[in-house]
């Protein structure tokens, strides 16, 4: 499933037409058609007007839960907080055992061990009913550290049992045109995701779209991250506003669609930050389904990075089950 570094490198050299240098990358990335922001935003808004009712809504709510990376990324995080998060991940709604589990918990690197312990036997691949542990790494959220530190950060998390690494790209390097540097760092982090047995932790590449600012930049950074071997492209750290937006996510999904058309590879997308309501999350499901196809609505190809979203979905779910509106006291805080 994970895209290995050798294949990715060969593909990248093939596509950019030579070594993966700043110049070659610039020529390649800047040759990609631009984005008209007004049209993109209108398309996203129009997808957002889809009316998802009854059976479709029930399916959507369950699927949203299954796609959530339940996240805590605070300086104040403690083992206790992580245990609480994991408990919520495993049993989102104690009043309804049919409630599915989330895909993963997402924590800082030093909390990975606590998360793994707390998950116990539930730790595993979400495509097979388990819950993964995702760790943010590479001097998250700013990414302002030496490569050595970033690699050590990554390797630490992997060795502690992280299944997924959410890295940040060097936005400074990207904005100043040093595409080669960004590329090389992603490749190096990917390499640091390699476990002792030769397998890889999944690599999610955070673009921090709020700092890239323009949709053209988001599109180029998406291509760059995929060229470098990222398994997922992720919008945001959640620490910078704006975080995930529907148009940004749509533009990334379009890259993933085009990449699939070009190479046959399926890359995942993770909007993160700012998605708090079921209504918003459903708009993302619609956008995924109508842009890349609904086969993307599985944990290894689409995730929501969120914390408060889960409880809103549970409230909506209770409403569908019971027929009346629920209240905040009927869902648990983690």
């Amino acid at each position: 499933m994970t895209i290995d570094t050798l294949t990715a490198g060969a593909l990248a050299r093939n596509l950019v037409g030579g070594d993966v240098t700043d110049a070659n990358l610039r020529r390649y990335l800047e040759g990609i058609p631009g984005i008209d922001a007004v049209g993109l935003e209108q398309r996203a808004a129009s997808l957002g007007t889809r009316s998802i009712k009854t059976t479709s809504k029930a399916w959507a709510l369950d699927r949203i839960i299954q796609l959530i990376d339940l996240t805590t990324l605070e300086g104040a995080d403690t083992p206790g907080k992580v245990r609480s998060l994991v408990a919520k991940a495993m049993v989102p709604d104690a009043s309804d055992p049919t409630t599915p589990r989330v895909a993963a918990v997402c924590v800082y690197g030093d909390m990975v061990g606590d998360a793994v312990t707390a998950l116990g036997a539930s730790h595993g691949d979400p495509d097979h009913g388990g819950i993964s542990v995702a760790a943010v790494a590479t001097a998250f959220p700013s990414g302002r550290a030496s490569l050595a530190v970033k690699l050590a950060d990554t390797a630490d998390a992997v060795s502690a049992g992280a299944d997924e690494i959410d890295m940040v790209i060097d936005r400074g390097a990207f904005l100043s045109g040093r595409y080669g540097l960004v590329y090389d760092q992603i490749v190096a982090v990917k390499e640091a995701c390699r476990r002792a047995d030769g397998s890889f932790a999944h690599l999610k590449v955070i673009l921090e779209t709020g700092e890239l600012n323009t949709y053209d930049n988001v599109r180029r950074a998406s291509w760059l991250s995929i060229l470098a071997g990222g398994d997922f492209i992720k919008t945001s750290t959640g620490k910078v506003a704006p975080a995930a937006t529907l148009p940004v996510t749509l533009s990334m999904l379009e890259v993933v669609r085009d990449w699939h058309r070009l190479t046959g590879q399926k890359i995942g997308v993770k909007p993160a930050g700012g998605i708090r309501s079921s209504k918003d999350a459903i708009k993302y499901l619609v956008t995924v389904a109508e842009t890349v196809g609904e086969e993307w609505l599985t944990p290894h190809l689409f995730r929501f990075g969120a914390s408060s979203l889960l409880n809103d979905v549970l409230l909506q779910r209770q409403k569908l089950t019971t027929g009346h509106y629920s209240g905040a006291d009927y869902v648990t805080i983690d």
């Binding site: 008209d36 922001a37 007004v38 049209g39 600012n213 323009t214 949709y215």
Partner: protein, 286 residues
């Protein structure tokens, strides 16, 4: 020692050249007292057709010129006309049987109209156009553009002033013109063609036909490659039929006017031969 006058052959003006009518026909132009002044070419439908072809082929260059440039070209017409004032006065006196002073006033007025319209070339767009505050992230602007080829029936009771008053406004925005001169007083129109030929007006921008408006106007009114029809001088014609013919291709039509104020100078005459084009473009920082 006396000088035997060299008389002028009054021909048509099409595509910057002075052809005779392809039909070979001419009509006698008489003075008010009935004396023979000249033979004028009697334009045929084929001459009208050639004139439209010439006018169409000149649209791109004339409408594509900068407004500043068109203004200078129209002003140049006034300059050249001023230089040949005496010739026009003499022709008007002979044709219309008016005093030299009255003829002089007519020529002066014609000159001034060129000056007035010349000044409009780079202004009418600003006065007629708009920036439109639409409710969305769009740059949105409306600008008037020339309609294309304008066929004009010039006022029939004036040698020069009526002709100029009908011709000049159509040229301002960049239209090209096929104009039927006054049937009774065609001499000034053809002399005016010499003014055009010696100023900087590109060939084909103005095409002048003399002869019978009754015979030729229907061919222009029904011509599919004519975009607009100015019937200002068509009072005596069956102008309603002309308007009906023009409706076949939805030409823009100006109705006849009468009296000495016909085709009086007005911004509206410029605007009548323009089309408003509205352009939208998306606008975004990101």
């Amino acid at each position: 020692m006396s000088h035997l006058a060299v008389q002028k052959t009054y021909k048509l003006y099409i595509g910057g050249a002075f052809p005779r009518s392809e039909s070979g026909y001419t009509t006698e132009v008489l003075s008010a007292s009935g004396t023979f002044l000249a033979n004028a070419a009697k334009a045929s439908r084929k001459d009208a057709r050639d004139a439209v072809v010439a006018a169409r082929s000149a649209v791109s260059k004339w409408s594509g010129a900068t407004a500043y440039n068109r203004g200078q070209v129209l002003y140049r017409i006034a300059e050249v006309l001023e230089g040949r004032r005496a010739q026009f006065v003499a022709e008007i006196v002979a044709s219309e049987n008016v005093s030299a002073a009255a003829a002089g006033t007519q020529v002066d007025e014609a000159i001034d109209r060129w000056v007035w319209y010349a000044g409009w070339c780079d202004k009418y767009t600003q006065v007629s156009g708009n920036a439109n505050p639409v409710a969305g992230p769009y740059f949105n602007i409306s600008v008037p553009e020339p309609t294309g080829v304008v066929a004009v029936v010039a006022p029939q009771d004036s040698s020069l002033l009526g002709f100029v008053s009908a011709l000049a406004p159509a040229l301002v925005s960049g239209n090209t013109v096929v104009i039927l001169a006054s049937e009774r007083f065609p001499l000034s129109a053809i002399s005016f063609a010499e003014v055009l030929a010696t100023s900087d007006v590109p060939g084909g921008v103005v095409n002048i036909l003399t002869g019978s408006a009754r015979d030729v106007a229907p061919w222009l009114a029904s011509h599919a490659d004519v975009n607009a029809l100015d019937l200002v001088g068509a009072n005596a014609l069956d102008w309603i039929s002309l308007e009906i013919a023009a409706a076949d291709t939805l030409k823009r039509v100006l109705p006849p006017e009468s009296g000495s104020d016909a085709a009086a100078p007005a911004l509206a005459r410029i605007q009548a031969f323009t089309e408003t084009k509205t352009v939208w473009h998306t606008k975004s920082l990101i």
